[in-house]
Structure formats: structure tokens, C-alpha cells
């Protein structure tokens, strides 16, 4: 007699924990019941992201790089499961290598994107990149795993925290990813992943006054309306591409701060 396997309950990832939706709702995807997040869950996720911002952005760049590298390690260990929940082994390998690539940028982008500015007066003047803050990410529908990694990695390597709306038809890979992230020393709340209906969640994420930037690349709903909502607190709106990999993707979610100080004796 064969053994009956123990199934996984697919839940949300908020504040480093795996709660069910407070609404008690689920929807079925790939034959599994998946949490259907509510507006309240979304607000909780934004609050968790804001709360984690100080810790995550305050870590040294070297440390953040190591944490991202560890996400790659955790994914490698679960590669077989990821392959089942995505389009296959190739997608998983691309996603893992992406983490490694972005991990290496953690302590380098500031040198590429910042500057020291030769002002025409006796002042020391420099420009440094800093995280924008809380970033809302609408992950692409497909590829559900690598598309999400491609949009999430540049956001968090820069010290931002994220609230992700996972692919609606393919949400399982995103929860598997949450489990890898949860065991990779990412501070709780730095990454939050919500599964559910896009149309229910996206407008509230776009309009949320405590979200600083928005990646609408994976938005399948009404893009003009989401961008209009984003204007309410002058969000930085990025139309991210699921296959793009570049330090300029990191730059999209950074602010530039310029500091002046007199030179004198």
C-alpha cells in the first residue's frame, strides 16, 4: 500500500510569517487551494514592509549581498520542487543565477550610480543612491517564478522592502519562493507576497499612501487607472520587464541624495 503524501497549505507571506488570508477566502490554482488576500491583508503587508525598511536598508551592502546569495542557495536546495511549480528546470536555473548576479551588485551599484560633484565653490559635494522605500511589485503572470525574481531582486538589493502581488494563475511558485526567502536571513517584512485576485488588490496597492514606488510591469488590469492612482502620493512608477537584468533596474527604485559641506580650516 502506497503512502498518502502530506500536502502543503499555500498561504500568504507577510511580516516573515505565513498567515492565511484574514478574509478566510481561497481560490483554486493548479489544483491547490491558495489564499485569496483581501484589502486588509494588503494593508498589513504594507505595514510590515514599512516596519522592516529600517533594518533591511540599514544592513551593510556586503551583508545584503550575502542574504541575496543565500536566497540562491535556498532555491538550489529546492530546485526540484521549483521545477514542478514553474515551467521547468531551465526557468529555475535562470532564476537562481539571477539572484547570484544581483547579490554581487549590492556593494557595487553605489559606485556606478553615485558621484562626487566638482562644484565651482569650496564645498565637498557628493551624490549617493538610497532606497526609495516600500515598493509595490505586480509580478508578471508568466514566467511565474523567474518573472517574479527578475522584478523582486533589483528592488530589494537596493535596500527597499517589497509588497508583491503574485501571478494570479500561477501562484504556487511564489509561495515556494517565500519559503526560500524565509530561510535566507531576509528580515521578516522585507519581502511580502500576496496571492489572490489582481483586480481586488492592485488598485489598493497603487493608491496606498505609504507605498513609495510601484512596478506595474505585470499589471494585467487597467494600467492607466493604476498609474492615475499612483499619482496620489507621487509614486515612482516603473513598467518593469520580466526578462531585463541590469544595474539600471536597481536604479529605478533608488533616490539620489546630494550632500554639501564647506571645505575650510
Amino acid at each position: 500500500m502506497s503512502r498518502l503524501p502530506v500536502r502543503k497549505t499555500y498561504k500568504l507571506f507577510v511580516g516573515g510569517e505565513f498567515p492565511r488570508s484574514e478574509s478566510g477566502r481561497t481560490y483554486e490554482a493548479r489544483g491547490q487551494n491558495v489564499a485569496r488576500a483581501s484589502r486588509k491583508d494588503l494593508r498589513d503587508a504594507v505595514r510590515a514592509a514599512r516596519g522592516a525598511l529600517g533594518k533591511w536598508s540599514g544592513m551593510t551592502a556586503y551583508n545584503r549581498g550575502q542574504v541575496l546569495y543565500r536566497i540562491a542557495e535556498m532555491m538550489e536546495a529546492r530546485a526540484a520542487e521549483f521545477a514542478e511549480l514553474s515551467s521547468g528546470r531551465a526557468e529555475v536555473e535562470t532564476a537562481i543565477d539571477r539572484w547570484v548576479w544581483y547579490a554581487g551588485w549590492a556593494d557595487k551599484y553605489a559606485q556606478v550610480l553615485g558621484s562626487s560633484n566638482p562644484v565651482a565653490a569650496p564645498y565637498f559635494n557628493f551624490t549617493v543612491p538610497e532606497p526609495t522605500g516600500v515598493v509595490g511589485v505586480m509580478a508578471p503572470e508568466r514566467p511565474a517564478l523567474d518573472g517574479l525574481v527578475a522584478r523582486l531582486a533589483p528592488v530589494i538589493v537596493g535596500g527597499n522592502t517589497a509588497v508583491v502581488l503574485a501571478s494570479e494563475p500561477e501562484p504556487l511558485a511564489s509561495i515556494e519562493l517565500a519559503e526560500a526567502i524565509a530561510t535566507a536571513d531576509v528580515p521578516g517584512g522585507a519581502v511580502n507576497i500576496l496571492t489572490g485576485y489582481r483586480s481586488e488588490l492592485a488598485p489598493w496597492l497603487a493608491g496606498h499612501m505609504d507605498v513609495n514606488a510601484l512596478d506595474v510591469g505585470g499589471a494585467d488590469g487597467d494600467l492607466p487607472e493604476l498609474e492615475r492612482l499612483a499619482a496620489e502620493n507621487v509614486k515612482r512608477v516603473v513598467r518593469g520587464h520580466p526578462d531585463r537584468q541590469s544595474p539600471y533596474e536597481i536604479a529605478n527604485f533608488l533616490e539620489l541624495k546630494t550632500v554639501w559641506h564647506p571645505i575650510g580650516v
Binding site: A121, T127, R228, A231, R239, T258, V259, W260, H261
Partner: protein, 499 residues
């Protein structure tokens, strides 16, 4: 009378000095009676035939009539810009493009006195500021970006910089020519053509600038200038032929523009309002700090988006700072913008004066304590006495809203953490000031302040090489420096990995 005041009263304090009038001559300037719209290299009549007077805010005397651009005029200007972009400007070699910008920089330097007089006349700012700040910086901006025109591929590694096309640019009335330079110089250096809308109340230096373009022999249509009120700006924002919008102005209008462009995919940069904290620690060099506070809020009548309008003083030095500050405010000379001794000029417009009065009234009503030095104001024109509010709570409107006038709100703090929390407690994030002699504290504060520009032991410094722009609701994108080019370029990646 306080001790300090008594001591100062025995010596010849500046407030006791009388200054003979020292007006800058106006005869260097010849104004036309009426100005058209600058489209395709010529000043042309607006389609509607509608003109409005532009005035000297220090006397309310009309200076000239200026055209109100309508929908069809904006359309003509955009077409002229498109035509210039497609038929000539984008084929000119970058090195030649640079030389046009160098020419413009040089001509602005040569004619700087004329421009400075006009800037003060039409905008109300003291001549010493237009002469020593606005004009030199405007010329420097063109000179700086001129050099980038043929070096763009070195600015963004692994990218292929290309001009965007037609840039629509809308600028405010506080630094009319300087904001024009901030907008036009990087746009042209990147290879774009532009349609620029100056502010309704301060169009004259932009119109005089068209004569600089004539002298520089810039090809027609590369720069087009459409004057008018907000309606002209709205037409420019809506126009389908514009590839990029750059706006400097209020957060309210900035949000409206962002909404209007939602879904269009057009590039947008916004430089919006601010409510900067100027933070003074107990170990600061107090006299220097007081000068920095004065410069921070009374420079250009406080018509500065990055003005240090909230003073945060550490409690232990509150009394001496306030005492010194009040003494210093007494010495500010308010009056004729063209007088070389004037520190604080005229408020830019009647509308702005009413806004300042309204917010100052709210400050008094909410319970703040007002200090205004004795001050003789001219009978005509728009004026506001330099004002200091003490006893201000964070919730007061004068601590939350941008007044955009010579009005300082003073708050206190005990610890560095409290200073950071109060400084960041606003939807804005444009600038901040820190005054302390402790280096590690400067760097720690600079790191924690959510602001695009942090001035440490100085305030209100600007330079073409130095990126400027806001966090949060103060806007996005940077102007100045290498980073200021990015807003005017399409930056494809030459070999973006995986796609």
C-alpha cells in the same frame, strides 16, 4: 530689552545704519510694448489675439504685454519642435550641438547685467541675487551641459543614449531664467528640441532669451517658448506630439500632471514643493548657523521650493538662537528690488501675497507666536515683512504646508533621533539643513534625512554639477549633474543580459 540687544545697541548695529538709495540703472534694458509667442524661431501673434499685461510686482506698473498661447499655438510650437528635431537638429554632430550651447552660455555672460535687471524688475527679487546667483548659475548651466553633448556615451555605461524627441517644459516664477536654463540646457545637450512654458507672472527673461538664441544662430524650432497662464501649460501636457514632460512647480499641479500622463508611457520628471527642516545642534557655530537660517528662508523672499522653512533648534540653545535670529532679522532691508542694498524684495504676485497672508493668519490663529521686525514697506507693490513664528506645533499648517514666502516656523528637539523624526514628518522630501561641528553627526543625519539635497553647515547652494531633486511628494528625477541628463535620454541597453 535683552542683554544681547543692549550690548549691541551701544555699538553701531546695522539696524541703526541709514543707507542711501543705490538703485541699479534700468536704461540698459529696452522692452518691447508687446511680445508674441516664440515659435519656429520667430515671435508670432497668438491665434486668439489674446494678450495680458505683465507687471513689476514692486510697483504694480505694467512692463509689457505678453501673448496668451491657446491650443492651436501650442500645437504649432510642438510641430515646429518636431520639425526641427526631425529635419536637422538630430543630424547635427554632437560636437556642433555643444558649440551652440557654449555660445548661449557666453552670450548670457556678456548680457548678464541686462538680464539681471529684467529678472528683478519682472519677478521682484533683489538685484544682488539676480546679479550674483541667477545669472551666473544660468550661464554656468549652459556651459556645463554643453560639454556633455558629445560625451553622452561615457555617462551611462553599457547603454545607447538617444534623444527622446520633443520635450515639453513648464517652469515656475521664482527663478525664471535659471529654471529655463535647468530645463533647456540638458534637453538640448541630449539632442532634443523643446517647447517651454514660462510662468504666467515672469515671462520677460524667457522672451529676452529668444534674442540670445537669435545671436547664437540656433536653428529655428529647436527652442520654442509659449507664454500664458496654466491653460497653456495644460495644452502642452496633453499634446500627443510631446515625448517628455518636465515640470517644476507645486505638488498639487505635479500630481495633476502625473494623473494626466497616466497610461501614456510618456517620460515625466517632477520637481515639486518642499517644507525643509533646517536643524541646528547645540554644538553648531551659532553665528554661522544664524546666517544659514536667514539665507535659508529669506533668500528670494522665501520663494524657494527648497527653502529652510522649518527651523529645528536643539532645546539647550533655543534662547540664544532665537535672540540672535531676531536681531539679524531686524537688519534685513526690505524694499526696491533694483536697489543694490536690498536683502528682501517684492512678493512675486498679488495671488502669492494673499496665500502668504492666509497661512500666516492661520499660524496666529492656531496659537503660534509671531515676530515681525519694525519695517517700513513701500506704499505700492506686493510686500511681506520677514516673519518668524515660535511656539509652533508640528500639526500647525505653518509647519506642514509650503508657504513659499519669507516666513519661518521654529520648532525644537532634544535628541538627534527626535530631530530626524520631526524633519521627516512631512509628505515632502526635497531638502534639509544640518548645523553641527561634529563630523560623524553630520554624516549620520545626512543618511537619515529623507531629502534629495542635504546642506551641512551651509544652505541654498546650487551648482550645475550637483544633482537636485526630491524624495516622496517633492517629485522624481534629478536636475543638474550627470544624473540630470538621464531625464532627457532614451537609454536602451546594448546587451542587457537575458533580454
Amino acid at each position: 530689552m535683552t542683554d544681547l540687544e543692549r550690548r549691541q545697541d551701544r555699538s553701531p548695529v546695522p539696524s541703526g545704519w541709514d543707507y542711501a538709495p543705490a538703485p541699479e540703472a534700468r536704461d540698459i534694458l529696452t522692452l518691447e510694448e508687446r511680445y508674441g509667442l516664440f515659435i519656429g524661431g520667430e515671435l508670432v501673434e497668438p491665434g486668439s489675439g489674446e494678450y495680458f499685461p505683465t507687471i513689476d510686482p514692486s510697483s504694480e506698473e505694467p512692463l509689457a504685454e505678453v501673448a496668451q498661447a491657446g491650443k492651436e499655438d501650442v500645437d504649432l510650437a510642438v510641430r515646429a519642435a518636431r520639425d526641427a528635431f526631425e529635419n536637422g537638429w538630430s543630424d547635427i554632430s554632437p560636437a556642433e550641438r555643444a558649440k551652440y550651447l557654449y555660445r548661449i552660455a557666453r552670450i548670457l555672460q556678456e548680457r548678464s547685467r541686462e538680464f539681471a535687471v529684467l529678472e528683478s524688475l519682472n519677478g521682484g527679487k533683489p538685484i544682488k541675487e539676480s546679479r550674483d546667483v541667477d545669472l551666473p548659475l544660468s550661464a554656468a548651466h549652459f556651459f556645463y551641459y554643453a560639454g556633455w553633448a558629445d560625451k553622452l556615451e561615457y555617462a551611462f555605461p553599457n547603454r545607447r543614449p538617444k534623444a527622446i524627441g520633443v520635450a515639453g517644459q513648464i517652469i515656475p516664477w521664482n527663478f525664471p531664467l535659471l529654471m529655463l536654463a535647468w530645463k533647456i540646457a540638458p534637453a538640448l545637450a541630449a539632442g532634443n528640441t523643446v517647447v517651454l512654458k514660462p510662468a504666467e507672472t515672469t515671462p520677460l527673461t524667457a522672451l529676452l532669451f529668444t534674442d540670445v538664441l537669435r545671436q547664437a544662430e540656433l536653428p529655428p524650432g529647436v527652442v520654442n517658448i509659449v507664454t500664458g497662464d496654466g491653460r497653456a501649460g495644460a495644452e502642452l501636457v496633453k499634446h500627443e506630439g510631446v515625448d517628455k514632460i518636465a515640470f517644476t512647480g507645486s505638488t498639487e499641479v505635479g500630481k495633476a500632471i502625473q494623473r494626466e500622463l497616466a497610461g501614456t508611457g510618456k517620460k515625466l520628471t517632477l520637481e515639486l514643493g518642499g517644507k525643509a527642516a533646517n536643524i541646528v545642534f547645540d554644538d553648531a557655530a551659532l553665528d554661522q548657523a544664524v546666517e544659514g537660517i536667514i539665507n535659508g528662508i529669506y533668500f528670494n523672499q522665501g520663494h524657494v521650493c527648497c527653502a529652510g522653512s522649518r527651523l529645528l533648534v536643539q532645546e539647550s540653545i533655543y534662547e540664544p538662537v532665537i535672540e540672535k535670529l531676531k536681531l539679524r532679522v531686524k537688519t534685513l532691508r526690505v524694499g526696491d528690488p533694483l536697489d543694490k542694498n536690498t536683502d528682501v524684495g517684492a512678493i512675486n504676485s498679488k495671488q502669492q501675497l494673499e496665500k502668504i497672508r492666509h497661512l500666516v493668519k492661520s499660524g496666529e490663529e492656531e496659537g503660534a507666536e509671531i515676530y515681525q521686525p519694525p519695517c517700513r514697506l513701500p506704499d505700492k507693490g506686493y510686500w511681506f515683512v520677514p516673519t518668524v513664528f515660535t511656539n509652533v506645533a508640528q500639526s500647525y499648517r505653518i509647519a506642514q504646508e509650503e508657504i513659499f514666502g519669507p516666513v519661518l516656523s521654529v520648532l525644537t528637539f532634544r535628541t538627534p533621533d527626535e530631530a530626524v523624526e520631526k524633519a521627516n514628518n512631512t509628505p515632502y522630501g526635497l531638502s534639509a539643513g544640518v548645523w553641527t561641528e561634529k563630523g560623524s553627526r553630520i554624516l549620520s543625519m545626512a543618511q537619515k534625512l529623507k531629502a534629495g539635497v542635504v546642506w551641512a553647515n551651509t544652505y541654498n547652494r546650487f551648482d550645475p554639477t550637483s544633482p537636485f531633486g526630491g524624495y516622496k511628494e517633492s517629485g522624481f528625477g534629478r536636475e543638474g549633474g550627470l544624473h540630470g541628463l538621464e531625464s532627457y535620454l532614451d537609454l536602451d541597453e546594448s546587451e542587457a543580459r537575458g533580454g
